[in-house]
Amino acid sequence: MSSAEALPQGRLTIEGKAVRPRKWLEQAIGIALFGCALVSILTTVGIVVVLVVEAAQFFQEVSVIEFLTGTKWSPKLGNQFGILPLLCGTLLVTGGAAVIALPIGLLSAIYLSEYASHSVREVLKPILEVLAGIPSVVFGYLAIVTVSPMIRSVFPSAGVFNAASASVVVGFMVLPMVISLSEDVLRSVPRSLREAAYALGATKLDVTVKVVVPAAISGIVAAFLLALSRAIGETMAVALAAGNTPKITLNPLESVQTMTAYIVQVSQGDTPAGTLEYRTIFAVGLALFVTTMILNILAQWFVSRVREKYE
């Protein structure tokens, strides 16, 4: 007891300065920090409220059924508000991007996780981070200046703006994400599984394709879904490369318009607030938000399955 009495009571000094605890300050800070966390909730609420309120006014004039099933999109001329052409454009570009990003991404992830030595990985990972950090608009520039002429030299029928060039650049944009997420799950597969397979006389190919990848499949699917969601929401590159022609087509050499590119197109013209055309931004935005949200939630569900398995 005597030694405790010798200590200065209730005085905490940090680097020579006395700091006195104050209860009201502690509480005020707790509340302020809570407020910071609340901002994230309010952001979600804000997104939903803004999109739904404006879209609701849009749907008073255009029926939801017409919006979801109409096959013509021409808000300026002819007042036709069928979102299918925009959806088709988005799916065409995203599908093309997936054809590039998913196989190359998975193979690269396998290389980094199963084959590459530590030093090679140390070099490659920062390179992939640089690729991931390049802004969308730069990829858009590349699509117009480099990719589109290349595609046109192979397929002379392709337009200056075409879905294929958008697909190519979006594919490479989401590639680093596919690689890094897939690599993480591949590496989290326990070593014992690999060694058991080797002990049975399997080659490295057998181990990778028949043991490691199946064990990590939930996480790989999650990575693919997140990449698709990114590709669907990708804006500037697609607005530059794919063109502004809303139509239902599966031909990647034609010019199409995606949901995101449409929003950019309307935003650039000075559309007065309160008009039906202005409100299409919010209706299309809502469709985009819901689509990507569903993919993100699905991805999180797959991720939680991986956790259950190995943690």
Binding site: I14, F34, T44, V50, D206, F282
Partner: protein
């Protein structure tokens, strides 16, 4: 299976395995090749157009006279304001989640919500900015409205990075602080945050890089492709480097594509400087606490 057949079979499997290794390596090499092509194309097209006049001139109808002064100044305004707003809120939210909030349903909801916000396309934030900041709060198309919109885009990145750095601070430090009679906030402020600062800084710099390169939310909320003055206050109208690049790249004349490339060189230079700073911070201050 005869012995000869068996040897052949094993040899084929070994060969197949090696072919697969080469295919995987080729896929990875392709990623690197794409980056090299990208940088080469931009430097080759952009460098000849890049000079001091390009940095200080205003946009023009004539490609040879076009410059990026207003766009560059706007971008600097935007990222400084975005950092000033997003860092306190983002770190505050992370401290709340890691150090204050008890494990509860509410905490899980906030965490899930942040993960979802990180996956929302940036253009949706632009629409929110248009509806909330530009219209409802009547900030018009000002730098402040732009910075607030970008804040919402990068906030999930800042929060997640800060949370990760806070989680990496060993519990023994907190325990030691509490044992000396420090309160929760004193522990956070004097012990945990200083230990987590390098990690938080890295996350913040990455978030700022993201804000610098974002064009979609700014275009959606109505940022001008070009303005004819250098903005001097947060209430001024604004442009941004990526928005100007978008406009130049979308023009049919090839000369403007060179202007776009030159502007991209400037944008990428700033981005690389930011990232080098991030790496430096990580290595210089990253290993102070080792327990």
């Amino acid at each position: 299976m005869s012995h000869a057949e068996s040897t052949k079979y094993h040899r084929r499997r070994a060969l197949l395995s090696q072919v697969f290794a080469v295919v995987c390596l080729a896929a990875t090499a392709l990623c690197v090749l794409v980056l090299v092509i990208l940088i080469w194309e931009i430097l080759w097209n952009g460098i000849p157009w890049l000079n001091a006049k390009f940095l200080t001139s205003f946009p023009s109808r004539f490609p040879e006279k076009a410059g990026i002064a207003p766009a560059l100044a706007s971008s600097v305004w935007l990222i400084v304001l975005t950092a000033l707003i997003s860092v306190p809120i983002g770190v505050g939210a992370a401290v709340y989640l890691e150090e204050y909030a008890p494990a509860s349903r509410w905490r899980n909801i906030v965490q899930l919500n942040i993960a979802n916000l990180a996956g929302v396309p940036s253009i949706v934030y632009g629409i929110l900015g248009l509806g909330l900041f530009v219209r409802a709060l009547a900030l018009e198309r000002s730098i402040l409205a732009g910075a607030l919109t970008l804040t919402l885009v990068v906030l999930p990145i800042v929060i997640l990075a800060a949370q990760e750095s806070l989680r990496a601070v060993p519990d023994s430090i907190r325990g030691a602080s509490y044992a000396l009679g420090a309160t929760r906030w004193q522990t956070v402020w004097y012990q945990v945050l200083p230990a987590a600062t390098p990690g938080i800084m890295t996350g913040v710099i990455l978030a700022i890089s993201r804000a610098l390169g974002e064009a979609a939310p700014l275009v959606a909320m109505g940022a001008a492709a070009f303005i004819s003055f250098v903005p001097v206050s947060p209430t001024d109208q604004f442009s941004a480097l990526p928005v100007a690049i978008y406009d130049w790249a979308s023009r049919p004349q090839p000369e403007f594509h060179h202007v776009a490339a030159a502007a991209i060189v400037v944008l990428l230079t700033v981005l690389i400087l930011l990232n080098v700073t991030a790496v430096y911070v990580r290595y210089r201050y990253g290993q102070r606490i080792r327990l």
